[in-house]
Amino acid sequence: MDLFQILSDIEKVDGEVYQRFDTRRQVFKHLSGMGKKVTAATLPALLSTMFNKAYGQTTALSQTIIDTLNLALSLEYLEFYYYSQGVTSGLFSGNDLNAITIIRDDEQGHINALRGVLGSNAIADPTAAAFDYTAGGRLAPFTSAALFLGNAQAFVDTGVRAYKGGAVNLISNKDILTAALNIHSVEARHSSHIRTMRRGGVGVAGVDGGGPNDSLPKSWISLLDGGGPAPAVTAPVYNAGSPAATYPAEDNVTQGIINVQSNSNITGPAGIPITAAAASEAFDEPLDANTVKIIARNFRSATAPAYLFA
C-alpha cells in the first residue's frame, strides 16, 4: 500500500486533506517516524486513527458550544437578510452596491460554515420574515442609504462584540475557536468599511466619539460613538453588558488592572498624548450573550420563531 499515493489521490478531490491533519509536516513526520515500528498489522489501525481525526466528528459538541454558535448563526441571519434587502432596495449603486453585496456574501459563507460545524444542532433558517428591521417602527432603514448604513453599523458592531464575548466559550475546541475568530475579524472589517461609507469615504476624517449624531464615525469605535446612529435603539450596542466588569462599555480605558490612558509605562507615539478617545479606540469590548439577545430582540418580527434570540 503506497500511503503517499493515497494521500496524493485524496488531495486531488480534497485540496485541504493535509490541513485536516495538524500540518503537512506533521503527517510526514508522523508517518516516517512511525515507519520503523509500523507493521502490516498495525498500519490499518494507525491510518484509521489519522483519518478519523481528520474527517470524523469524534465527539459531540457541548451545549455551551452549541448555544454560542447558534447565537452567532442567528446574528448572521439577521445580517444576511438585512444586506439581501439592501442589495435589492435600489438605495445603492456602483461601489456601494458592490460593498453591500460582498458583505451579504460573507454572511452567507459564515452561515454555511456555522451550519456545517453545528450539523443537526443548528437552528432552522428563521427566514427573512423573522426580522423587523424597523425595530417596531422606530427606524426606517430602507428609506435612505444613510439610514440603511446606520442600522448596518449597529448590527455589525453588535456582531463583533458578540463573537468576542462568545469566543471564550469555545476555548475547549481549538478548531471551532479558530473558525469563530476568523469570522470575528471579518465582521470587524465590515464594521470598518460601513463606518468609512457612513462618513463619506476614505477622504473624510472621522471625529472622536463619532461627531454630531455619530455622523462622522471613525472606522474604529471611538468612546461610545454618541450612542450610535440611532441612540434610542442603538445606544446599548456601545454600552456595558452584564457584568460590566467583564463586558465594559466601549469607552472603557482600563484593561485588566491597567488604565491605558494614565499608566506611566504607557505613552503616546512621538509625544502625542493619549486621549480617552484613543485609549478607548485601541481596544474593542465584548458583550455577553444575554445583552446581545436583548439588543437583537428589537429586530424580531411578530411571526419570528420562538427560538430566535430566546
Binding site: 470598518s192 507615539p269 512621538a270
Partner: protein, 255 residues
Amino acid sequence: MSNKVLSDQRPLETIVDKPLYSPIKRRSFFMYAGATAGATALVLAGCNNNNDSSPGSIDVGSGDFGVLNYAYALEQLESAFYIQVLGGSYFTGAGAAEKQIFTDLALHEKIHVDFLRTAIASAGGTPIANLVPDFSTIDFTNRTSVLNAAQAFEDLGVQAYNGAGRYINSASYLLLAGKIVSVEARHAALIRDLIAYNSFVGPVSGATVTSNAVIDPSLTSATARQEQSKLPSVVLNTVNTYLATGSKLTATSFG
C-alpha cells in the same frame, strides 16, 4: 531565583527608557562606523545572514506568556513602523483624513505595545527584549510604499492573532487578544480601502472577491468567507524580513 542575569530581566523602567523606535539606518550606521569599519561590518553581516536561526534570534517562549510575547513582538514592529511614518515626508504632506488615520494607528499600536509589555510584567512574565526593526525596504517619503507596508503589517497582525488564539489557555488572555485583534482588523480594512476601495476583505473585481489574500472567497467551504489566519511559524517568516539581525524571532513551542 533572584540572580537572573538575562538582559530582559532588568527592571521594567530600564526597558521602558530604552528607545523602542530609533533603529539606526543602515546608511547612517556606515557613516558612524567609518568606511573601513563599515567594510568589516558588511562582512560580518553577510555571515550572520546565513545563520538566521542562530543563538542571535529571540524566541517568544511558551504558554500564555509566549503568546503574549508573540503579540508584543508584532505590536513592537507595527508601532515602530507607524512612528517612523509620522516622521516621514509622506505623512507631513498628507491630507487631513490620512493624517488623522495614521495618527490614530500610531496611537493605537503604541498603546498596544506599551500595554502588552506592562501587562506581561505585571502578571509575572518576562517581556522579550526591544526589537530592532529593519524598514530599509520601505520608502517613508512615498505614499504607495507606506500604504503597502501598512497593509502587510495590519493583515499579518490579524492573521497572527487569529492563528495564535488556539495556543491561549487562559480565557482572560483570549478575551484580551480578541479586544485587540478586531481593532487590527478595522485598521486593515481601512488601509486596504485606501489602496483599493472596497478591498476591505481582499482584492475584488466588482462584488467578487478574487483572491484568498484575506478571506477564503468560497461560499461553501468549511472556511467560507473567513479570515485566512496563519500559524506563528508562517507569520514569523514574514515578520523576520522586517527585523534586524539579532532581533529575528522564533516561536519554537508553537506551530
